[in-house]
Amino acid sequence: MTLIRIILKRLLSMSITLIGVAVIVFFIIRIVPGNPIAMMLPPGAGEEDIARLKALYGFDKTLPEQFLIWVRGILGGDFGTSITSRQPVMSLVLGRLPATLELSIMALVMAVMIGGALALIGTRQRGGKAEALIDVTNGVSLSVPDFLWGLLFILLFGVLWPVFHISGRVSPALDLPFVTNFYLFESLLRLRFDIWLDLVSHMFMPALALAIPLAAIIAQLLKQSLKETMHLDYVTLARTKGYSENHVILREALPNAILPTLTLVGVQFTFLIGGTVIIERLFSYEGLGNMAIDAVINRDLPLIQGIVILFAVIFTTVNLLVDLTYALLNPRLRHG
């Protein structure tokens, strides 16, 4: 009963958040300098031409009128039409979402694997040179922004030792037999490992660039949790029973120590998706982030609105899922 109340409460706050985001994004992007009509004016356009173009794209109406038209459209599932590509915003945004989700998930998996491994090694070798090295590595990983990692990888694995693709999501020469835009997932389902390898070869560098800072956070937090847990009585008891150090860490300490890390990973995942904007641009990866930058440069207002709303939906949904997971795992919250 309490859980249902938590869900309803969170859904209500999620709705309010989304409405707030919609209002803010609509008015903010119309207040900031730069309008799409001025950008498409050819040399020599007169006042009549400007008025004609404004009417064509609906900018001749007042802001509240434009807002009502937009909201009415959203309620009917129509997010408007992109000014630059002249395609429905919804289909553009949903078409790119899978690419960004796949990249983010791959980065998350890499971050968990790298961060988890470093935390385990650091805990196993605590107080030794290995832990010191891991701490230094974590510090460096956190201080260097993801796009700089990206540039470094392009130089290392794209130019000096060209083993990965530098740009794009998939090789243009490949014919894709897919019905969804979840290429990585669908290529596995269809057992098309040639395409899968090509996709991974394109995603590896951007995903790793995104993963490194998150891996460092995971490594730090998990190592700290593990070290604290290793001093608890039940762990000491396990040791006295003669279990090996590896068993104690992996089977006894880890299940308890991992909870705060899991919560953090959920929250960080939303930041990871946000981080794809720059990385997708750097690697010309055809995801939402890359599209968002083009939309801002071109002042494609309907597209900017659509992307921001979608990002907001993703953030709030992930937060909701994290809260629910936490509630499920934590009996005190579950039972009020």
């Binding site: 001025a38 356009a45 130019v159 394109h202 750097l282």
Partner: protein, 510 residues
């Protein structure tokens, strides 16, 4: 097994798997170059070359021109050449336009391109409800009549540049029957044209695959397939060519261009029709002719080109480049810092009491744009001008310029790939134009009669006189003509186009 052992072995396994994976997924390197790969600097947002922002974006016209034909073709030096129209002009009293359509041209679906297609494209472009941004030009002719491959039409308002526009923005011939059958959306999803290449595959924000059209009326392209990858980041673009993933790329920092062409790559650098300039808005201190003239005299353009652009630029003194029709080499504004000091002194300014104003600029929109302005501000400071730099986005520049609210000085790059003075000096300096911020009535009075001037020689001389007045009164500060750097793999010959369009059908094996 210890955790350390496990990790070491695990890491080794992971590394081995990674290498195996990466090696299997390696891109095909440039062996033989059958499939030409171009790393392009901009995305193609839409396949419609006559509607919306894409239609007036000069940087993607090269892609359009690979698939669609313009009404009139354009040679690499900006001169017009027979294309879909083989003959064009006015009748004797200039009340009618007369055009001849090339025979034997076919669309990519094999159907014939006819005079009806040309008329339909012109009428569609002129439709006020059609959304063509250049409608105000296309609407100056109409009431077309077709007889075989001959088209005649009425001149509704005399526009001396109408035929030049037929090689410029939105001047494309589109397939009437195909668009009527498939609709606008169907056309954009699977576009066909009559150009040298057909669209084989298009992934928005990612790449285009083009296939040579066997039925093309002109010289058959040498490369049968071309992939144009959209790589907007300059570092990644250079890496694409350096690693052999792409064969041709353009627009990179001059230092990178010099470094790479000193190695295994080949470089081509030719002046294009884009210029760098500083708008003067006739507000505040810019109303003082001494300040404007001093601001022009104090700038050593050649030094800026040599030192900041590594020589990849051509200093200019008017808004006409040497390739433009109304270029007049006798109009000059020499570097004269002492003269600048004297002018400022006449208005009561000096290095101790400098004249102050704001200069706006983009940062990173064009190569070294901010650095150029920094250098100019430094040169100005030496003569008694203290300018504060304000960085803005290009979108803000357009809005401020359209509303005539630019700062007293504002850096911009102006493109004019037909080289006509109306589309450079005309639109940039004619007060009522939304692209001009100089409102002086004397200049408006000089320019106004030139818009409809039917005598071409008189028209060009008129524009030269306008440019001379602009230079004498220092109403704008022209800086330099850009040089476009193109890097490519050995074994390819790239023919640059003065418009800046990178055209794959002009590329051959060397």
């Amino acid at each position: 097994m210890t955790v350390t052992d496990f990790s070491r072995r695990g890491l080794l396994k992971l590394s081995a798997a990674t290498i195996a994976l990466a090696t299997t997924g390696l891109p095909a390197l440039a062996a033989g170059i059958d499939d030409l790969v171009i790393a392009n600097n901009v995305n193609l947002p839409s396949w419609n070359p006559t509607l919306g922002t894409s239609a007036v974006n000069p940087t993607i016209q090269g892609i359009y021109q690979s698939v669609f034909d313009m009404f009139i073709a354009q040679d690499t030096d900006l001169s017009q050449a027979p294309g879909i129209l083989t003959d064009w002009g006015w009748n004797a009293d200039q009340t009618k336009v007369e055009m001849t359509v090339r025979e034997g041209v076919t669309w990519h679906d094999g159907s014939p391109l006819t005079a009806e297609d040309v008329v339909w494209s012109l009428e569609r472009a002129a439709d006020p409800e059609g959304g063509n941004p250049i409608q105000f030009i296309w609407s100056t002719i109409g009431n077309f009549e077709v007889s075989g491959n001959q088209i005649t039409g009425d001149v509704l308002r005399f526009e001396p540049t109408i035929f030049k526009w037929m090689s410029f923005l939105t001047g494309y011939v589109l397939p009437k029957a195909y668009i009527e059958k498939n609709g606008q959306e169907g056309f954009e999803a699977a576009p066909i044209g009559s150009g040298p290449y057909m669209v084989e595959k298009y992934e928005r924000n990612a790449f285009i695959r083009l296939k040579a059209y066997d039925g093309y009326w002109g010289q058959a392209p040498e490369f049968k397939t071309v992939t144009i990858k959209f790589v907007t980041d300059a570092t990644a673009r250079v890496a694409e060519v350096e690693s052999g993933n792409a064969h041709v790329t353009l627009e990179m920092p001059s230092e990178e261009f010099d470094r790479l062409r000193a190695g295994s790559l080949v470089g081509v650098a030719q002046p294009i029709s884009d210029i760098g300039m500083i708008f003067f808005n006739d507000i505040d201190v810019m109303k003082d002719p001494n300040v404007r003239r001093a601001a022009v005299k104090a700038v050593n353009k050649q030094a800026i080109v040599d030192r900041l652009l590594s020589g990849y630029g051509v200093a200019i003194d008017t808004l006409q480049t040497p390739d433009y029709t109304a270029f007049d080499a006798s109009v000059t504004t020499p570097y004269d810092p002492e003269g600048a000091k004297e002018l400022l002194a006449a208005s009561g300014y000096s290095t101790d009491n400098p004249v102050r104003f704001t200069i706006q600029t983009t940062r990173g929109f064009k190569p070294k744009d901010y650095e150029v302005i920094q250098a100019i501000v430094g040169l100005w400071r030496k003569v008694g001008i203290e300018a504060e730099i304000e960085v803005y986005e290009i979108a803000k520049h357009y809005e401020l310029r359209a509303t005539d609210t630019l700062a007293p000085a504002a850096f911009y790059n102006w493109g004019n790939s037909i080289g006509d003075p109306t589309t450079s000096t005309g639109f940039a300096m004619f007060g009522p134009s939304p692209h001009s911020v100089w409102d002086g009535e004397d200049l408006v009075g000089m320019i106004a009669p030139l818009w409809g001037e039917a005598d071409e020689a008189k028209r060009i001389e008129g524009w030269k006189a306008v440019d001379r007045k602009i230079a004498d009164d220092a109403l704008v500060l022209p800086l330099f003509q850009y040089v476009q750097p193109i890097l490519h793999a050995p074994g390819i010959k790239v023919v640059p186009h003065a418009s800046g369009a990178l055209l794959p059908h002009l590329m051959t094996r060397s």
